[in-house]
């Protein structure tokens, strides 16, 4: 007899379909439960049968060689109608519902059936866990209970599956929302960038004739100017120029936020930039009753940086010092390699000004932060962006900026630029074994956002960890990771010089890739790493035992190569 269709059939099928379990491959968790059911009940056949609209399909089966049968003949179609109770048919030939079923009369020859319905949390029975035999049999109470318990276990597995599906869907939706958010943020930043560019252009236009005519008057092109008139004109000019600086700062900050603050790193000497700046600002300092001096350590190595940007940072620090140092004070710029950090040139601007409180020291590099008005302060014009921009510029050149100061004791602003003295860097690697290899590899690790933009904070943490991971991937006696050239939230390039041949370099590349893949912060920030290697061979003409010759040749070969990498590096 064909089983009637349950009253809740539509809903029941919906529940079943939501599980997305029909026609999926077998799974061990379900097969284990089927096996247990058959063992406990002592039947040769057991199955997890799911009752679909016109068939029963077996998620798991034991002793059966079909994966589905028509619903019309299925015992399970009856079992799901049993109000959640087990359906037990001890001898099918004596049951009016089943005696004429092809499963009983045919070659299958079923006699015994016990099925416990699989009732999901929403009350819908989607199928059964059933045991079947070809001879009539009886289940003991404990076997019935076990079958029931196992049925609940199957349901629990299916509930788990459903929750996982919901979770996956939620995660997917979340990822989509995040991507959307990132896109919106980037759009907003781009819009802001466009807006600021436009505004700054419009503001510069009226500034141009103000500057032009003030200088025309000052240069007495339009007739003689009295001392008083000259003073007033200079006030106009000074303010026009401070307005111009503010417009520039505004643009720089927007560029910093949109990642468009560009630095073009080359090998450079810091000394001349500083002495030149000090010379050109000496007049202004003198006019303010300040002395300005500089001291550049002899034999400074070349640093890696953008000349114009280094000049901009030093100028900003000196101008700040002049603002906050009372008449009679002194400003001194010191350029040196500090013994505690031999791989960087350090530039320090010291003043005898009002100094900074602990709170100021902490916040002085923040955007729009302005130090509280103090007695010795000369003027406060500016937007409070100068140090923020300086910090961004220094970071992008691979350096660090900080301040040491006490209230009333003056301030010392310092920043570093990485040194790229390849000769010194590779000197410790020039051992007999290494030189005999006649081979050296330059490995560059490019960390770039894999999908959308990355917040500055996440980017920094990720890149610090990545640099450390690269450091752990190499052999200190044979390889070195170059000092960082600079990073931004757009990425960073880390360069490793390895005393290795082609296969050796390949192994290092693999180690770096493995370590980076295991870096939680790199992965979670959304950085992708691209590791590439170039192997350089020592020319035949160079004697591998001649340390000096090898060093010179390696440095010569590396020079061009590393410069290229620096330039290709992150903008």
């Amino acid at each position: 007899m064909k089983a009637p269709i349950p009253a809740n059939e539509t809903e029941r099928l919906k529940t079943l379909r939501h599980l997305r379990i029909l026609d999926t491959p077998p799974e061990i968790t379900y097969d284990d439960l089927t096996l247990l059911a058959s063992e406990i009940c002592g039947t040769p056949i057991a199955a997890i049968s799911l009752v679909d609209s016109d068939r029963q399909w077996f998620k798991s089966k034991l002793g059966l060689n079909v994966s589905q049968t028509p619903r019309d003949v299925a015992f399970c179609a009856h079992a799901i109608l049993n109000g959640g109770e087990q359906l037990i048919v001890e001898d099918a030939t004596k049951d009016e519902r089943f005696f004429d079923s092809t499963l009983v009369t045919g070659s299958a020859g079923y006699r015994f059936y016990a099925g416990t319905p699989l009732v999901m949390s929403d009350g819908n029975a989607v199928g059964t866990l059933c045991v079947v035999d070809r001879v009539p049999r009886r289940l003991t109470d404990s076997q019935k209970r076990a079958l029931e318990v196992l049925g609940r276990e199957v349901v629990a597995q299916m509930e788990l599956r459903r929750n996982q599906l919901v979770l996956e869907k939620t995660v997917l939706a979340l990822a989509r929302t995040e991507a959307e958010l990132r896109r919106t943020q980037q759009e907003q930043l781009d819009l802001k960038d466009k807006f600021i560019s436009h505004v700054s252009h419009e503001l510069r236009s009226p500034l141009t004739p103000i500057y032009q005519f003030a200088t025309i008057l000052l240069d007495e092109i339009a007739g003689p100017v009295s001392k008083q008139q000259r003073d007033y004109l200079e006030i106009i000019l000074r303010n026009a120029s401070s307005l111009q600086n503010m417009i520039n700062d505004l643009l720089e900050v927007t560029r910093a936020q949109t990642g468009k603050l560009t630095v073009d790193r080359r090998r450079m000497h810091v000394g001349p930039i500083v002495t030149d700046l000090v010379r050109s600002l000496a007049m202004t300092a003198k006019a303010n009753g300040l002395t300005l001096s500089a001291n550049v350590e002899a034999d400074l190595p070349e640093a890696l940086g953008d000349k114009a940007r280094v000049r901009q940072v030093v100028a900003n620090l000196i101008e700040n010092a002049m603002k906050f140092t009372p008449e009679g004070g002194a400003i001194h710029v010191n350029v040196r390699v500090r013994p505690e950090q031999r791989n960087a040139v350090c530039i320090t601007v010291s003043d005898t000004g009002c100094g900074l409180s602990a709170n100021d020291r902490e916040r002085v590099f923040e955007q729009l932060y302005q130090v509280e008005h103090a007695g010795g302060e000369r003027s406060r014009n500016g937007l409070g962006l100068g140090l923020y921009i300086s910090k961004e510029l220094v970071n992008r050149q691979g350096g660090r900026i900080w301040v040491e100061s006490e209230k009333g004791q003056g301030s010392h602003f310092s920043f570093t630029l990485p040194i790229l003295d390849l000769g010194k860097l590779i000197a410790p690697l020039l051992t007999e074994t290494n030189m005999a290899k006649r081979s050296l590899a330059v490995i560059s690790v490019d960390l770039l956002p894999a999908s959308g933009p990355i917040s500055a904070q996440n980017a920094k943490a990720a890149m610090d960890e990545a640099y450390e991971a690269v450091g752990h991937s190499i052999h200190p006696a044979m390889d070195i990771a170059l000092p960082r050239f600079g990073s931004s939230d757009k990425g960073e390039t880390i360069i490793v010089i390895a005393m290795a041949d082609e296969p050796g370099a390949e192994r290092i590349v693999e180690r770096i890739e493995e370590r980076l893949a295991a870096c939680a912060s790199v992965q979670s920030a959304g950085f992708g790493a691209q590791v590439t290697k170039t192997v350089l061979l020592l020319p035949e003409t160079v004697d591998a035992n001649d340390e000096e010759a090898v060093a010179a040749e390696w440095v010569r070969m590396l020079n061009g190569h590393v410069d290229d990498l620096c330039r290709e590096g992150v903008e």
Partner: protein, 131 residues
Amino acid sequence: MSAKKIVIIDDDPDQQAGLRVRLTASGYDVASAGDAMQAIAVVRREKPDLILLDIGLPGGDGHKVLARLKSLGPIAAIPVIVLSAMEPAGNVERMRDAGAVAYFQKPADNALLLAEIRKALGETTAAPQRS
């Protein structure tokens, strides 16, 4: 020797006037045009020794004017210095590629601008003026 002639192409009358006064005081003859259409006509008529060109112009921007100037046989050889309030990023290369000899962002420093003008005119021996 007669004074060298410079044509200023700029739509802002105040900026045009400022430059005119400054350049006249430095001993140059000055003519000017306020839009893209006028620019070509004025250059053709005046046959200047140098052109100072703004980018943001009504009736076709400075990039187009520059391309047009450089396409007209007799005037293509006149040196062009671009003066603009726009960001140098991107514009400098573009103008240089199109044949400009220099790019200044407004407000331009007078001493630097005059030095560049003298260089473009081949007058490098003249002493720079105070800005």
